[in-house]
Each structure stands twice: as structure tokens, then as C-alpha cells.
């Protein structure tokens, strides 16, 4: 057992070559690389079975369909890093979409219809943050309650009616600059921005710190409450943007909550490598997670597996990732003698 050897651990050999090699190995073992590899291999396998899968139009549509999930998963990742969770996102998505649609259909300026979901998204999530950070309600229950309030409220107010006759300019997600659907730009740009922000801003690092070692974070003067508010605020921003991509993709908006979407978003975040125990995770992983789910979904259609199995696959994916995460942490612990 390593715990009783008195030899220093292998990190002592640090020749430049050794460092490069280790860097390479770390990259190959990273969640991002595994996910990317998974997406590619899966695509190839489906393609081998049914070449129509490889059509440019299909590949673009997979990416485009991933976008709103991916953007919401960015926010979810940040929330989960602090050891919390938000299961009200789908309900929020439905409410915000209806707000945007109603504004647009009642001849408010288009920019306002796009801005409103972002503003309301941030406000509602800040309220959730307040419940969690200041009133100490566990995030799971606070968001479960919020979910039903939003969901029920939406039906109460609108009766689940469809919104038709939206103005032409509203359909942001249908635009295709340079032949590439707009959501794809959003997905990549936001992921990049968030990745940079999480890595290079002091707040970004503080978020990891709060999730990783609450006590130590407190000792180094980081305010947990303020970080939690920030985190839920960011989640609101991301859900707001996600709503725009979601609500502008079809010519009508249904004033209901898209079923099961919160699970898809959480799945994307979790298989993207965010640790359920808090403290680690990357937003690039979350984006790749969203793409993987959409690839599986599309692939199932092409190989004639019923799409009704998708949710079961998502459940298995979460379970698998969580198990790998737990065992990986255990191995780490025993490797350093803890």
C-alpha cells in the first residue's frame, strides 16, 4: 500500500519531458476529452449504420438543438460547483419564454422581448439565491417549490395557450449567418466567455473555493452568501439567454413548461464532469455534455431506437458519471494516503 512507503510520490521526477507527458496524460484522462471522444465515436458508429446521419444539415441541427441546453447547463454547472442544484430551470424556461412571446406579440420592440427573459431570469434566480443563502432552505427544496410556483402560475395565468403570429424579427434562433444556425454561435461564444471568466476572474476562483472547502473559504475572507447570490444570478442570466434560443426556434410558443428539460440540463452538467460533491467542474464539459445528449438522441432516431428510451439513457449517464466521480475521488484519497 502506498500509504506506508516513505518514498516521495512520483511527482518528484519533473523533467520537462516528464511534465509534458503528464500534461498529455491529464488531458487524455480529462472529462472533456472523454466526452469529445464519445461524441466522435458515437457519431461514427451511427454513421456506419446509417450514412444519412452524416449529412451536414443533420450535424448542424444536432449542434443547434444542443445550444439552449448547453447554455442553461453552463449556469447549472456553476450552481452545482457550489454544492447546490436548481431543478426549477425548465419551469423558468417556460415562464420566460411566455413573457418574451407575449411582449413580442403585443408589439413591444423586439429587443425588449429579448431582454425581458434575461432580466426576469436573473431576478427570479436571485430570489432563489436569497432563499438558499440567507433563509438557509436547502437548494433542492427551494427550487422544487419554485418549480411548482412557476409551473402552476404559468398555467393559471395563460391556461397553456399557444402564442401565434409572432413578428418576423423575433425568431433569433432561426437566423443563419454564413449558413450556420445562430444558436451555435451563442453556444460557443458563451461557453468560451464563461470558461474564461471562471478561470481568470477572482470571483470565478472564489466559486470553486466555496464549493471545495467552505471553512477554508471563510477563513480567507470569502463571503459564502455573496458568492451564492452571484452563482444563482449567473444561472438566471444563462437561463434567460437559453430561453431566447429556445423560444425563438419555432413559429409558435406554447405557454407551458417543456417536460423533462431540467433533467436534460442537469444531465449535461453532471456528465460534463461537475463533481456532485462540489468544488470542481468545467463549463466546456457541460457544453460537450449537452452535445453528447443531443447526438445520442439524434443517433437513436437514425438507428431506429425509440426516442422514448432517451430519458432512461440520461438517468444511466448521470448514475455512471457519479459513480466514476466517487470512485475516482476514493482512489485519489488512498493514493495520497488519506
Amino acid at each position: 500500500m502506498t500509504a506506508t512507503t516513505s518514498k516521495p510520490l512520483p511527482q518528484s521526477e519533473a523533467t520537462p519531458l516528464g511534465q509534458q507527458l503528464r500534461g498529455l496524460l491529464a488531458f487524455l484522462g480529462s472529462q472533456e476529452f472523454i466526452l469529445a471522444l464519445g461524441i466522435v465515436l458515437l457519431s461514427l458508429a451511427v454513421y456506419a449504420d446509417n450514412p444519412r446521419f452524416g449529412a451536414e444539415r443533420n450535424l448542424l441541427s444536432i449542434l443547434s438543438n444542443s445550444a439552449y441546453i448547453a447554455v442553461a447547463a453552463l449556469g447549472m454547472t456553476v450552481v452545482i460547483i457550489t454544492g447546490n442544484i436548481d431543478i426549477s430551470v425548465a419551469a423558468l424556461l417556460g415562464v420566460l419564454g411566455t413573457i418574451a412571446g407575449q411582449l413580442a406579440v403585443h408589439d413591444y420592440p423586439i429587443w425588449l422581448a429579448w431582454l425581458a427573459p434575461i432580466v426576469f431570469g436573473i431576478l427570479i434566480e436571485l430570489f432563489i439565491g436569497f432563499l438558499v443563502a440567507y433563509l438557509r432552505i436547502p437548494a433542492i427544496v427551494a427550487t422544487l417549490g419554485m418549480m411548482s410556483v412557476l409551473k402552476g402560475g404559468l398555467i393559471f395565468v395563460t391556461g397553456g395557450a399557444w402564442i401565434y403570429d409572432l413578428p418576423k424579427g423575433f425568431f433569433l434562433a432561426q437566423r443563419q449567418p454564413l449558413g450556420i444556425p445562430m444558436p451555435i454561435y451563442f453556444m460557443f461564444a458563451l461557453t468560451l466567455l464563461m470558461a474564461i471568466w471562471m478561470r481568470y476572474s477572482a470571483t470565478g476562483r472564489a466559486i470553486y473555493a466555496v464549493g471545495g472547502n467552505r471553512e477554508a473559504a471563510r477563513l480567507s475572507g470569502i463571503s459564502e452568501k455573496r458568492i451564492l447570490m452571484t452563482v444563482f444570478g449567473i444561472n438566471g442570466l444563462m437561463v434567460g439567454i437559453s430561453t431566447i434560443l429556445f423560444a425563438t426556434q419555432f413559429t409558435t410558443i406554447q405557454s407551458t413548461v417543456p417536460p423533462g428539460v431540467e433533467l436534460t440540463i442537469i444531465t449535461a452538467a453532471v456528465i460534463g464532469g461537475v463533481s456532485i460533491l462540489g468544488g470542481s467542474g468545467t463549463v466546456i464539459g457541460a457544453m460537450l455534455g449537452a452535445i453528447l445528449i443531443r447526438t445520442i438522441q439524434s443517433g437513436m432516431i437514425f438507428v431506429n431506437v425509440s426516442a422514448y428510451w432517451l430519458q432512461a439513457v440520461q438517468g444511466l449517464l448521470i448514475l455512471l458519471t457519479v459513480l466514476v466521480d466517487i470512485f475516482r475521488r476514493r482512489r485519489q484519497m488512498s493514493a495520497i494516503g488519506k
Binding site: 442544484i85 431543478i87 432563499l131 433563509l135 438557509r136 432552505i137 436547502p138 433542492i140 427544496v141 427551494a142 422544487l144 417549490g145 419554485m146 418549480m147 411548482s148 410556483v149 412557476l150 409551473k151 402552476g152 402560475g153 398555467i155 393559471f156 391556461g159 397553456g160 417536460p259 423533462g260 433533467l263 442537469i266 444531465t267 456532485i276 460533491l277 425509440s306 422514448y308 428510451w309 432517451l310 430519458q311 432512461a312 439513457v313 440520461q314 438517468g315 444511466l316 448521470i318 448514475l319 457519479v322 459513480l323 466517487i326
Partner: protein, 329 residues
């Protein structure tokens, strides 16, 4: 005797603690009485035997699952997958009978076994792999619901024989049959929690799991049991539900975990564990059903009533927290 040597102010303190507890259930009863009075004035249909029995019929399924959920939340855990186990078991009942030509009796039995096994899967990972209950049951929330959709291909099964409806639509000794299930299960659950070493162990785990282990309480076995029990009760509830609505669909029980958790928390069980009672949960359940009934009588459509449940859930946690804080001082 040494017990009387303590200063007198302790006794006042204890009285106030007792009052706080009494207060919590007392408040529920008062709210319930007010709700009944208000409802009976606003709608003449409310205070009729038919309506009340029908409301009791409607709350049975949530009530059955709320019993094990009370145990789970007292230990500081949670089970989000109960609605999915419910849907999965219902679908399996219909599918085994209709598509696999099982005798209906066997299909019922098998669906209950399947629900119990679903609970067992949760339990094994939570207890032995130490996956946090939130995450485990969130994953199986997706998994079991997905199984329900996948196996049924979203086709519903209907056309059950007449005797099957005895459980969900008819009466036994003058009251709806499924209420008997709830009564028996409640008594069983109440005795188990209030009168057996197991119940004491559940509270001990919720207050201090390490202390419970150090006292030789079989913590793992108890935890295993409560999650399995939740699976079993979800499946029984699914069977009664199928009999009540005459059809099985893959989306049965979607969002049911919300009602169940709300009833438990409204009944005074602390969301962080350690305290709670079965009679509190039953009070919470009744109150919740009264609220729903009142809303629907005043013309609010079914799905919209969940707003109130959400608000009730959050408010009752806030009130709980407040009481706990006062109780500590």
C-alpha cells in the same frame, strides 16, 4: 431523589418546548378548521359526505408514499424518485397484463415487486456506495421515468376487468376501499416510528448518524429499509391509482414527489432531519388536499393548484426553521 435537585427554571423551559411542539400541530389543526369553515361557506358542495369521501380517495396515493418519505426526511435524506417509481410500476402493471398476457393478479404482484426493487437500487447506492440521496434519486427519477416511457412506448393500457376497480373506485364497509389501505399503512407506520426500536433509531440517525453508529444501531440496515419501503409504497400507490383511473400511462405520477414532500414538511418534519411524526404528516396531507379541493371548487384548474403547493412547501420550511431556532434558545 436526584432528579428533583435541578433548578426550577428548567421546568419552564421544558414547558415552552412542549408548547412549541403542541403549537405546530395545533396550528395545523386550527388552519384546517378555518379552511373547512371557509370552504363550507363558499361552496355548498364542499361539506357533503360524497365530496369529503372523494377527497379522501384522491389523497390516498400521495398519503401512502408520504409515510416512508417521513422516515427518509427524518433521517436527513430525500427521495425524489418516488413519482417515477410510481409511473414505472403502473406501466409495468399494464404492460405485463396487456402485452405479456400475465394474469392480472400476477401483474399486480409483479409491479409491486418491481417498485420495491427500484427502491432497493436507490438504497444500495445510497447506503453502500455513499452516493448522496439527492443525486441518486435524481438520477433514478430520470431512469425509472425513462423506463416507463421506453417499455410502454407511451402507449396506455386500459380495459381492465370489473373486479379490478374494486380497489380504486368502489367502497368497502361504506368508505372508499383505498382508504382502508391508507388507514392500515398509517397505523403500521405510526407504530413503527413511535413505538419500536427502529423508530428511535431513525430519529437518532437524523440527529447524529455517527452517534447512532457508535451506539450500535444498525444504521445501514435501517437506511436500506426506508428506501426500499418507499419503493414498495410507491408501487402499491400506483396499483390503487391504476384501479382508480382505469388506465396506465407512462406519465402517471409526474411531479408527485412535490406533493409528497410538501405533505411531509407541512406536517412538521424538519427538512434537515431529526424530527417529525406520522400524525403530523397525515395532518399535512389532509390540509394539502383541502387546499386543492378548495381551489378547484373555486374554479382553479388542476395544474394551477401546484402554485399553492409550492408556496406551502417553502413557507412551512421557513416556519419550521423559525420554530427550531426558538426551540434551541
Amino acid at each position: 431523589m436526584t432528579t428533583q435537585e435541578a433548578p426550577q427554571e428548567r421546568s419552564n423551559l421544558q414547558l415552552s418546548i412542549r408548547n412549541a411542539f403542541l403549537g405546530q400541530e395545533g396550528v395545523l389543526v386550527v388552519i384546517m378548521v378555518i379552511a373547512v369553515i371557509v370552504l363550507s361557506f363558499t361552496s355548498e358542495n364542499f361539506l357533503t359526505v360524497d365530496n369529503l369521501l372523494n377527497q379522501a380517495r384522491l389523497m390516498t396515493e400521495v398519503g401512502l408514499i408520504a409515510l416512508p418519505m417521513t422516515y427518509i426526511i427524518i433521517t436527513g435524506g430525500i427521495d425524489l424518485s418516488v413519482g417515477s417509481i410510481f409511473g414505472f410500476s403502473a406501466v409495468m402493471l399494464g404492460w405485463l397484463w396487456k402485452e405479456q398476457s400475465f394474469p392480472l393478479e400476477a401483474a399486480i404482484l409483479a409491479s409491486i415487486v418491481i417498485g420495491t426493487l427500484s427502491g432497493l437500487l436507490n438504497a444500495l447506492f445510497i447506503v453502500y456506495v455513499r452516493v448522496p440521496p439527492i443525486i441518486m434519486t435524481l438520477a433514478t427519477l430520470a431512469l425509472y421515468r425513462g423506463m416507463a416511457y421506453g417499455i410502454s412506448q407511451a402507449r396506455s393500457a386500459r380495459g381492465y376487468p370489473d373486479w379490478f376497480f374494486q380497489f380504486g373506485q368502489r367502497d368497502f364497509l361504506g368508505i372508499p376501499t383505498q382508504i382502508w389501505f391508507l388507514i392500515v399503512a398509517s397505523i403500521f407506520a405510526w407504530i413503527l416510528l413511535a413505538r419500536t426500536p427502529f423508530g428511535r433509531g431513525i430519529y437518532a440517525i437524523g440527529n447524529n448518524e455517527i452517534g447512532a453508529r457508535f451506539s450500535g444501531i444498525p444504521v445501514n440496515r435501517y437506511l436500506l429499509f426506508i428506501y426500499v419501503f418507499a419503493g414498495f409504497m410507491s408501487a402499491v400507490a400506483a396499483f390503487l391509482f391504476t384501479s382508480r383511473v382505469s388506465t396506465t400511462r407512462a406519465d402517471s405520477g409526474t411531479g408527485m414527489e412535490l406533493d409528497v414532500i410538501a405533505a411531509v414538511v407541512l406536517g412538521g418534519t424538519s427538512i434537515v432531519g431529526g424530527s417529525g411524526t406520522i400524525h403530523g404528516t397525515l395532518l399535512g396531507l389532509v390540509l394539502l388536499q383541502l387546499l386543492k379541493n378548495g381551489l378547484s371548487l373555486s374554479g382553479v384548474k388542476g395544474d394551477a393548484t401546484i402554485v399553492v403547493i409550492g408556496v406551502v412547501l417553502i413557507l412551512s420550511i421557513l416556519i419550521n426553521n423559525y420554530i427550531q431556532k426558538r426551540f434551541r434558545q
